[in-house]
Symmetry: C2
Subunit: 339 residues, 2 copies
DNA sequence: AAGAACTACGAAAACGGTTTCGTGTTAATA
DNA sequence: TATTAACACGAAACCGTTTTCGTAGTTCTT
């Protein structure tokens, strides 16, 4: 087992000082050609690579960025991670992923672990627990320590930091507008409980579109599911109760799942009932019929978040200028709506 | 902006030495009650937390584990990560995720970056590029340096290390067996090119099941798709050419996608053609009809991999004993096959 | 009263680098 | 020949911990 070689080893072997070795490997002008060549050759031969930890300690920069997300088995979040990875890797950063599992406590614990020197900055989406509790002290603490933070998708106004979101309201608005233009009269909304910033925004877009088009808002057409998993009975009861010709869902699973329940009732999609879902993910693409979806552009979101973060990390100036970048939600039309 | 406080700050403020502070915070017997209480109170007040990087340098242990996977936007891999996270976090480890993007070069670069002190061990699945190239020197190098390595799912015999896989051959075998028992006569296999260890294994299971049941292997019933994305024309041509009453696919996407093409041809699933796919993922669950699938138990796989790795990392003895743990692939029956 | 044994703490090395500054040797200059 | 500048390198501090070892000062022996 050949252990990693250090500057000290090289220095001892070549009978020079550690500083000379360090400088030689950085091709410093201070060191003579001969010595440099000798040292560099030796280093290459023994495949010397500087120890990241030592460099981190010295520089007070880890080149790691911490990503805290509610759930990793979730298409949207993985696309965001992909975007982050892509940008971060190109800049020489590694990505430490922590999952809060929608829990406030885990979010706090994870952030505290990472904040003690392991990372240069955070990119995160708030857990459900945190949004319910409305307790953002752990976020405020890291920003007060001067650790840059970028929030994406699930954000809050109560923390001053960079943010990147999509225009959820507009996305929902244009989806509903499309349904109305297609002649749909009874448009339902299937959503989560409203402590999620995104669901709230999407709900507003839905209502606004109805209002702007002279349709009155029927609260009975709005179904709030308490869990992220779909309860078949609740949805079926909803369909029994209300006559519906279109459905907007705040996520893919709600959409695909309720589309299936509708088909089981012998109704046709999109002829009898149209469907649109948020998140243009893998389910929408492979659903049958293909699900018209509002794309959240996760990968782009991740890239932008990473860019914002790295700018702050590497920026000398600690100007307290925070931006919120709003991406445009775009409609990806498939067979679940009529063109 | 309140900067992080260090031992040195506390020492200066309380007019004691750094060593005294360090010991006091560890509740050492060496330090008097009075001094300890004073120091601990001060530390708590200023929310002192030791710097992870400094500790890593001292201990030569980072409490980070590196995970290198081909693709993060892939249900199976994310479930594995979830399992790894779960186990690792419970043991106080963080997870650094790197994506090789199926590329040999990126895999090498990522591993080299992490191997220079950033992590205590690796968990990984080989990229397509690596499996094609059959070049495993980067893996051998890290193991030679004494860095523990656990391979999962996409493994190779050429590297001596711990491994965790599912019994792909048996999984495919039992799937085909089931199709035969259902009276299917012309069972197709849609697979990738065969440099993937898993595809090869699955193919063998398919052939074996046919042989064992007195059916002859018709190579024309095996379709190898060059890409991970499905080429509609290739699959349609295949269906035009061959009369088929059942299909086994080596992944979800192949299965769901070709199931859809079959339905577009006016055939019924499962009556006319049955489908079984590998990876019991989100697509299988929400497909219409639900796709009978061979579960790969990603989360469990991740947990086991993490456990194996952490055992090696924390084990004193560098016994060169390597285990390969084989999980049982189980069939998850849904509507795409007849019971 | 002198040595032994504690007690309670500090100095310093170590982890593996980077960087500033000092210095001996040689070469160029006056 | 004496002075100076350039060159090539080393010593040491530093990043923030941990840990070993040394040692004042006190208390306990006999």
């Amino acid at each position: 087992m050949k252990r990693k070689i250090t500057l000290k080893h090289i220095a001892r072997e070549l009978e020079v000082s550690i500083s000379t070795v360090s400088k030689a490997l950085k091709n410093s002008e201070e060191i003579s050609r001969d010595t440099k060549e000798k040292i560099q050759a030796f280093a290459k031969l023994y495949n010397y690579k500087p120890n990241n930890i030592a460099i981190s300690l010295k520089n007070k920069r880890t080149k790691n960025i911490g990503v805290v997300i509610p759930d990793i088995v979730h298409y949207f979040f993985t696309t965001v991670i992909r975007g982050i990875e892509k940008f971060a890797n190109a800049k020489g950063y590694n990505v430490i992923v922590c999952v809060s599992d929608e829990s406030f406590d885990k979010e706090v614990i994870n952030m505290e672990m990472l904040a003690n020197g392991s990372i240069d900055g955070f990119i995160m989406a708030l857990s459900a627990g945190t949004q319910q509790k409305k307790d953002y002290n752990h976020l405020k603490e890291v920003t007060e320590q001067g650790i840059p933070l970028v929030l994406f998708d699930r954000v809050t106004d109560e923390v001053q930091c960079d943010k990147v979101i999509i225009n959820d309201k507009e996305g929902a608005y244009s989806a509903v507008k499309k349904l109305i233009d297609n002649g749909r009269k009874r448009i339902a909304l299937i959503t989560t409980e409203d402590y999620f910033s995104v669901s709230r925004e999407r709900g507003e877009g839905y209502r606004q579109a109805l209002r702007d088009n002279g349709m009155k808002i029927d609260e009975d057409l709005i179904l709030e599911l308490p869990d992220m998993e779909v309860d078949d009975d609740a949805v079926n009861a909803f369909f029994d109760r209300e006559k519906i010709d279109a459905v907007l869902c705040v996520n893919e699973i709600f959409a695909v799942h309720s589309m299936r329940l509708i088909k089981k009732r012998g109704l046709k999609v999109p002829e009898d009932v149209s469907f649109i879902g948020f998140t243009d993910g893998i389910l929408s693409k492979y659903a049958n019929p293909g699900l018209t979806a509002i794309a959240q552009h996760g990968e782009q979101m991740g890239e932008i978040a990473a860019q914002m973060l790295i700018e702050k990390v590497e920026g000398e100036t600690d100007e307290e200028q925070f931006k919120t970048q709003v991406l445009k939600a775009t409609l990806m039309e498939r067979e679940s709506t009529i063109n």
